[in-house]
Structure formats: structure tokens, C-alpha cells
Point group: C2
Chain length 141, copies 2
């Protein structure tokens, strides 16, 4: 961080990539932290890369979440809905409390930036994993 | 937008690139809108591309601003401070009310994502342009 002025710069190499924990992700997922809340900003963001077949667990966000796809092709699905394909440049808004998952398709990697606000210090509520049957469900409606 | 579920997807081609207006930018600047505030989210974001020598006017943000450099190399400067080089992966926090500008260097293009919250319906307060003398000032401190 640069404290020479009011402007603070967090350099890329100050924020190492982490692996997505097995408790909340399936498959190989890389998490690059971008920023956390501060005394003014109540949001955090990370760039998340999913290898083919990798995905989040089912979860909700108490203040919703915005995704911006930066590369590849992925899927997002709301509980009770059908998978929707997401491509570079697409922006996905998931309202507060909507149970959903997001990740790569079974044949393509996908990277998105995820931005979420905090409620009571919490940006996400994690649930059960997305089973292979759920992930590969081909139903459409 | 997709209203079939609670999840809303804004496709890339629904948000055409705009040119940065001459009133608030110098040089060739492209603005790709990402998202606007909604009934839950009080922030907007855009991906902004500056050609060499292009930059914003001096400005402040009532709720601050977060920048994430996605390609190229640029400069950011606070009023009274010196230019600081910003590179891909760097995240820049400008606190509320801090007068500053950001843009490309004089020899390289730069693209960043800009995220800002709104106060009284306003994410930014624009000021005078950054003169060539200010932009090319080589002083260091």
C-alpha cells in the first residue's frame, strides 16, 4: 500500500493467488484477492478462475453479488432454475438470498471478477456442494 | 437482462462502448459500462481504456473510487502529489474528496475497471482538465 498520499495503491504481487477451499468449491479454483472493505468501502472483490468442471458450492449473498466474466465460458444456476451460459463481458446480478452456484462449463475454463457487499461482516453464506448430477443436468425449460 | 429467475444477466453486447466526453477527458478514451446501481446495489462500474496521453480531468468521488488495472501501464496523481505508475493487477483506492486524475502514460495505453458508490445520486464531481504541463510534469519528491 502507498501511504504517501491519500491515494492507496495495492500492487498485484502483494495479493497472492489462493486455491479455492474444498469446503466451498468443487475442482481446481484459483482466487486472486482484489480488495477488501475499508473504512469507507463496504465491498470486497476477487478474480476467480475455474478449470473445466470446477464450480462453487451452492450459496447465497446477504447483499447480493455482481459477477463480471473476464475470460472463458461458464455456467450460473439458481436453485430451481436451469443453467445459463455466461461469456466474456457478461455481468451477472444475483439478488440477496438467492441460492445459486457459478463456475466453468464441463469443457471450458472461466474467469470472473466477483464483487459483493457485506452484511454483519459477511459477504456470503455457504451451503452444500453442487453434485455432479446437478452440475451436468441437461434439462431446459 | 434475464428475468426468468432472480438472477439477471446483462450480456456484453447490451452495453455498447462510448467515447469519453471532451468535457471530462483529454484524448481518446473508451468507456464500456459494466453495471449501474439497482434497488440493492449502490455502486456502478465501467471498463475504461485510455490511449497514450489520454486521461481524465481532475475530479473527486463523494464515496471514493476503486480502480483495477486490467492491461497496459498508466499514471494516477493526487493534487499536490507526484504521478504514480500503475500496472496490470494493481488496485487503486482514492478516498472521498481527494482531487486526482488517472489515465495512460504518454507512451503506453492503459485499461482499468472503475468502481464507485453514489452519494445523493452522484458518483463523481468533475473539475478542470489536466493540462499538458501538469500531465508531463517530471518532478519527483
Amino acid at each position: 500500500m502507498n501511504h504517501a498520499t491519500g491515494i492507496e495503491i495495492s500492487r498485484d504481487d502483494e495479493r497472492p493467488v489462493r486455491q479455492g477451499p474444498a469446503e466451498t468449491f468443487t475442482g481446481q479454483v484459483s482466487l486472486k484477492p482484489l480488495f477488501d472493505p475499508n473504512d469507507v468501502r463496504n465491498t470486497s472483490a476477487a478474480q476467480v478462475s475455474f478449470t473445466p468442471c470446477a464450480r462453487t458450492a451452492w450459496h447465497t449473498h446477504p447483499a447480493g453479488q455482481t459477477l463480471f466474466v473476464t475470460s472463458g465460458t461458464g455456467w450460473v444456476q439458481e436453485w430451481g432454475g436451469t443453467k445459463q451460459r455466461i461469456n466474456p463481458g457478461d455481468v451477472i446480478w444475483t439478488p440477496p438470498g438467492v441460492k445459486h452456484w457459478h463456475g466453468a462449463t464441463d469443457t471450458t475454463a472461466m474467469t470472473h471478477i466477483a464483487i459483493q457487499a457485506f452484511v454483519d461482516g459477511r459477504p456470503v453464506d455457504w451451503m452444500e456442494h453442487v453434485t455432479d448430477d446437478q452440475y451436468l443436468d441437461q434439462r431446459t425449460q
